[in-house]
């Protein structure tokens, strides 16, 4: 479509020099005055047609360009949403943002306008060349000698600048990353009074980006004017050679002028193509970085033929489970354990023993390296991800809230929940008291763009959010770490109610938490060291005794209570 508009447009543009030739040769030199008026009317007609065609072409090309951008951005977003947690552990948010915005825009400009331009200009080039040969073969052959030279320069330009461009985009990503990190970590920076130091680090990163930009600018400054210079040589040849031909009457003056105007028309396409080469380089570089995302295969894949997740009691089984984040060091070495349906199990172990990792395998946030995790006898890998995760409520240590109202945050997993249901969930999480004190109650906007909540308040909202989906399995990662004792007691009472009828796994950093559990599982260096009741473990396991005693000086109280 765009091609048709383009071709019509070109026809109009290209006929104008022909008319100039007719005016010179026939009207002026041939003294055919009567021909001037019709020629002018044709000119008017042509420019009007060109006006309309040009308008259509622009709207058409714009639509395509925006369509490409829309689709690409949508695809990137959709794909990012499907990528697994391991990907986000590696790829900082700043980098992802920079790719989904900066790089995407560069690609869009090129794909949208660039491709259309390259097509149109190439077409124009070819047509003009044909016309030139038609006017005068020798002259055309001589003046187009610069063609191959242009091509060679263009290819050389593209080759040398391509790696530089890729690096420029990379460096821009690093600047974004450095900025993001410093803004996020501003409290730490201020606490240590290290603003100067971070600024000089940021300055280093920015300077590196500056240097790379200048490398690219140097190449462009050299090649870009060179690419416009070569056609000027073509013009010079026409003036010299064609001029001589006119003097010797082997060419009419009108033909000469027409030839000259056409060749000048060639310079436009050449310059545009040269400029687009630079853009093309950027687009290729940006595209490569986008496709790094689009080509990233989620390690956690939807099964081809998912099994229906029939309602069940929620028994969790680990069979010979191994896991490693980096493929080198096993974080879990052969976990074999069954967690009975409806029970509450506390995972205990040193910092870094693999407690959190173990729980993250159940909703398939990460994929086991070896072994099987199953729920009610079904391998989690055979379930549709959304079916699986809908049945698992997770409350993490540092819960993330969206910039929307309290109500929407609580109902995040079940947007159709009624106000009563939301309120009940908040009640269960002991969150109603502080929600009611917020400026707009449940309609208060929280999250990054809203009201600032304390850590404990955020955690209670996260608990309410998890509870509202009524999951079969509940995973609490030391969910009460940053609340005071009274609130913790409240929450624990709430949890007790919430946990009834569900399988619950609690990662316990505080021994207080184990009072909630039916059973304790002791994890040490990625393996299960012991499991059982408090008394059994205390009698059997040295490690448990060490951990326990270090956090406990009144065993009498404990023994009586657990």
């Amino acid at each position: 479509m765009s091609a048709i508009f383009g071709a019509g447009l070109m026809a109009c543009t290209l006929s104008l020099p022909y008319i100039s030739r007719l005016v010179i040769d026939q009207v002026i030199r041939g003294h055919q005055h009567d021909k001037l008026a019709p020629l002018l009317w044709i000119t008017f007609g042509l420019i009007l047609v060109r006006f309309v065609l040009n308008q259509c072409r622009r709207i058409w090309a714009g639509r395509i360009s925006l369509g490409v951008e829309y689709d690409l951005r949508d695809a990137v977003f959709g794909h990012i949403q499907r990528l697994s947690f391991a990907f986000f552990d590696r790829m900082p948010v700043g980098q992802l943002m920079s790719r989904a915005t900066n790089d995407l825009q560069v690609v869009r400009f090129f794909l949208g306008y660039g491709v259309v331009f390259v097509f149109m200009n190439t077409f124009q080039l070819v047509v003009i060349c044909v016309v030139l040969f038609w006017i005068n073969t020798t002259l055309a052959a001589v003046s187009l000698l610069v063609g191959p030279a242009l091509l060679a320069v263009a290819i050389k330009y593209s080759r040398t600048s391509s790696p530089v461009r890729i690096d420029v985009q990379q460096k821009a990503g690093e600047v974004a990353q450095a900025a993001e990190e410093s803004v996020v970590g501003i409290r730490v920076i201020k606490a240590f009074g290290r603003e100067q130091y971070r600024t000089s680090q940021f300055s280093d990163v920015s300077t590196r980006a500056f240097r790379r930009n200048m490398d690219a600018a140097r190449l462009e400054s050299f090649y870009s004017p060179l690419l416009s210079l070569l056609p000027v040589f073509g013009l010079a040849v026409i003036l010299a050679y064609g001029g001589t031909m006119v003097i010797h009457h082997t060419l009419t003056l009108g033909q000469f002028v027409q030839f000259y105007l056409y060749l000048a028309l060639l310079m436009g396409p050449f310059q545009v193509i040269a400029a687009l080469l630079g853009n093309g380089q950027r687009a290729v570089a940006g595209g490569r970085r986008i496709f790094e995302i689009l080509d990233a295969v989620p390690d956690v894949q939807e099964p081809d033929d998912p099994q229906p997740f029939t309602p069940g009691p929620g028994e969790i089984t680990f069979e010979g489970v191994h896991f490693s984040y980096d493929g080198l060091h096993d974080v879990l070495n052969g976990i074999d354990v069954t967690i009975a349906a409806g029970t509450t199990v506390a995972l205990i172990g040193m910092t870094g023993a693999g407690k959190s990792t173990l729980t993250e395998l159940i909703p398939r946030y990460y994929e086991v390296s070896r072994g099987t995790v199953s729920i009610d006898g079904i391998d989690v890998r055979r379930l549709a991800l959304n079916d699986l995760r809908r049945e698992i409520g997770v409350v993490s240590q540092e819960p993330f809230l969206f910039s929307s109202t309290v109500r929407e945050n609580i109902a995040y997993g079940r947007p159709d929940a009624s106000d009563d249901q939301v309120r009940n969930a908040a009640e269960l999480a002991r969150a109603t008291a502080f929600i009611d004190e917020l400026p707009n109650g449940y309609d208060t906007v929280v999250g990054e763009r809203g009201y600032t909540l304390s850590g404990g308040q955020r955690q209670r909202l996260a608990i309410a959010r998890a509870v509202l989906t009524d999951p079969r399995i509940l995973i609490l990662d030391e969910a009460t770490a940053s609340v005071d004792a009274s609130t913790e007691r409240d929450i624990q009472a709430a949890l007790r109610a919430v946990m009834a009828g569900r399988t619950t796994i609690i990662i316990a950093h505080r021994l207080s938490t184990i009072r909630l559990a039916d059973e304790l599982i002791l994890i040490d260096h990625g393996a299960i060291a012991a499991r059982g009741q408090h008394q059994e473990l205390y009698a059997q396991s040295d490690l448990y005794r060490t951990i326990h005693d270090s956090g406990l000086a009144r065993p009498d109280l404990v023994l009586g209570d657990v």
Partner: protein, 619 residues
């Protein structure tokens, strides 16, 4: 990247509307700028000042570039009229040689001009970016708590990028195109003033059309900027919260929300395209009419012998050079608009002054003994809602004071006031008799160690992170600190020890380990005054025991303020201060307060019952 080689005869190189194809900024708009725009640009001047000689050089080269561009049609005219038509081959060849020489010169000058102006622009942006970053670093914590991360980051990235086109390419483009335009007008009048006047008959239409287009397009572009901001914020939030999105299986609704923002953005852009689709072909239409006028009037004049054919050819060629600059400059107007919007946002950051800054007579705090006095301190984050009410408290040098109270009682706020992250609305805080507002922030914080709740680590090696507060610490100091808090073995689990790369999310460190590292970081800084704000909430009990044992040694001789929900951590404090709704309700040693049977005794009782297994020592 704009092709600013001068226009040649008939060279209508700008085929269509790729606003990316070159830099920004309309020509004669310099005087047509609205007042705020002009002011905004003036505020950029300090960034240009260090490079004034470079700029003068670039200006000179730019004028040369415009001149070489203008000379080619004139040479062609000489070649045709004085060479070809009269059969003088000598003149013909001389002008061709001049043609080639000027072309080569244009290349060399173009190289220098292009490189120099890119250098100036990039250099200024570098300075601006670093200055902006420095400003961000010095803005109050309150600012950062109010403004979302994504927004601050985009000031430093996309907004600076938006200025890029303006400063690297735009000003050059304005000069080249402006000079070309003026040059063309002069040359045409010199050739033949009647023909020139006639060709300019279309000029009023051009001006009116451009003015209308400008108004409409600036409105349309404002809309695209608003919609793109929405795209970015939806994107940022869903990236930051991607784990929650996936955990609740909300990918589809999230994508829907994103699609809406994305579609709005597309619509807004489509409007700008429709506008340009009318405007730019319109200019071409006018230029076509100009051509017809020249052909009609020119042909008659040539016939009546008033002008030569070469002049008419030159007119046709220059006519294109007359419309090109206007078209290019209008095209750049979009870029100019977004650059101005970006500049406005950047300057509003600069205009936000840190409320906390060093007083003019601020002194460098001498080495402290660490006696802190709070005298009738009142503070609230928002005016009218005080979080701290009229608190007076004296902390002796070397004393360990624990702050206790329910969530929201004002414990962290009080600690932040002492570290001067905020200034109280009323009252006075002094350390060793120095009002904290009259000492330099750097010297205050250099003697102050804070371990916050969240252990943020930076990308870089573990060593860089641990020595963040004291860059000259030796490896032995680091290992000692790690051993003291029982985190020595964390080092052994990392592949490259202290040289292991840590990333944003801790890179292989668990939440607890990150907090341990944050703790070690504060110890290595060896501050006179230590504030631990829930510093050990995420570490396991055993590590916390280690830390507690280490603390006995570490706190010795330092003034320390502890905030902890686990009351076991604070029982050994010299003094416990109980806060409730921003007021001190009790203070004294653990035993005294228990004996008092007041608020603390109740808190302790609550806590003890809740955490019956968690009591560290007998009461």
């Amino acid at each position: 990247m704009s092709s600013r080689a001068g226009p040649a005869i008939g060279g209508r190189m700008r085929g269509g509307g790729g606003r990316h194809l070159s830099g920004p900024h309309p020509e004669d708009d310099m005087e047509g700028l609205s007042a705020p725009e002009a002011r905004r640009l003036r505020e950029l001047l300090p960034f240009a000042r260090p490079y004034r000689w470079h700029i003068l050089g670039a200006l000179f080269l730019t004028i040369l570039v415009a001149a070489t561009g203008l000379s080619t049609p004139a040479l062609a005219q000489i070649a045709i009229d004085n060479g070809i038509t009269v059969g003088n081959e000598r003149v013909l060849f001389l002008s061709v040689i001049a043609f080639v020489v000027i072309g080569l010169l244009g290349w060399a000058i173009g190289y220098g001009q292009n490189y120099l102006s890119s250098w100036i622009g990039e250099r200024m942006l570098l300075d601006l970016r670093v200055a902006l970053f420095r400003h961000f670093m010095h803005l109050d914590l309150g600012y950062h708590e109010r403004v979302p991360t994504g927004r601050s980051v985009s000031r430093l990235t996309s907004d600076i990028e938006a200025l890029n086109d303006l400063v690297t390419d735009g000003f050059t483009s304005v000069i080249v195109n402006g000079l070309t335009f003026i040059g063309v007008v002069c040359i045409l009048f010199a050739y033949n003033w009647q023909l020139a006047l006639l060709s300019f008959a279309v000029f009023p239409f051009l001006i009116t059309g451009t003015a209308v287009f400008r108004v409409l397009s600036s409105r349309a572009y404002r809309r695209t900027r608003e919609t793109v901001a929405e795209v970015l914020s939806v994107l940022q939030e869903n990236l930051a919260g991607v784990r929650v999105v996936q955990g609740f299986g909300r990918q589809e609704p999230a994508r829907e929300a994103f699609r809406r923002a994305n579609a709005d953005y597309r619509e807004a852009n489509m409007r700008t395209i429709r506008l340009s689709a009318f405007y730019f072909p319109g200019i071409e239409l006018l230029s076509g009419i100009g051509l017809a006028i020249i052909l009609w009037f020119g042909a008659n004049q040539v016939l009546s012998g008033q002008i030569q054919i070469g002049v008419m050819v030159a007119f046709i060629g220059y006519l294109a050079s007359f419309f090109d600059p206007i078209q290019q400059l209008s095209q750049l107007y979009d870029d100019f608009q977004s650059a101005m919007a970006a500049l406005e946002k950047i300057q509003s950051v600069f205009a936000t002054l840190p409320k906390l800054h060093d007083a003019d007579d601020a002194i460098t705090l001498p080495p402290l003994s660490g006696a802190i006095v709070l005298d009738h301190v009142t503070f609230g984050y928002r005016p009218g809602t005080a979080v701290i009410h009229d608190i007076s408290l004296t902390i002796n040098a070397g004393e360990t004071v624990a702050l206790v109270g329910a969530t929201g009682a004002g414990k962290s706020t009080l600690a932040k006031l002492i570290a001067r992250f905020y200034d109280p609305q009323d009252g006075l805080i002094s350390i060793d008799g120095h009002d904290v507002r009259h000492v330099t922030l750097d010297s205050l914080r250099a003697q102050l160690g804070i371990v916050p709740q969240e252990g943020h680590l930076f990308a870089g090696t573990l060593r860089d992170n641990l020595t963040f507060g004291r860059p000259d610490a030796r490896d032995a100091d680091i290992v000692n600190a790690l051993s003291a808090i029982g985190a020595r073995e964390v080092l052994d689990t990392l592949p490259n020890g202290l040289d292991s790369e840590i990333n944003e999310r801790g890179g292989g460190l668990s939440a607890g380990q990150r907090q341990l590292m944050a703790f070690a970081r504060a110890l290595i800084a060896n501050p006179r005054l230590l504030i631990l704000d829930e510093a050990t909430s995420s570490v396991d009990i055993q590590s916390e025991r280690h830390i507690e044992h280490a603390m006995d040694i570490l706190l010795h001789g330092r003034t320390s303020i502890l905030i902890a929900h686990r009351l076991s951590t604070i029982k050994n404090a010299d003094r416990i201060v109980v806060l409730d709704h921003g007021r001190i309700v009790e203070q004294g040693s653990h035993d005294q307060l228990i004996g008092l049977q007041g608020r603390y005794a109740q808190l302790y009782d609550d806590w003890e019952r809740a955490t019956a297994t968690d009591v560290a020592d007998p009461v």
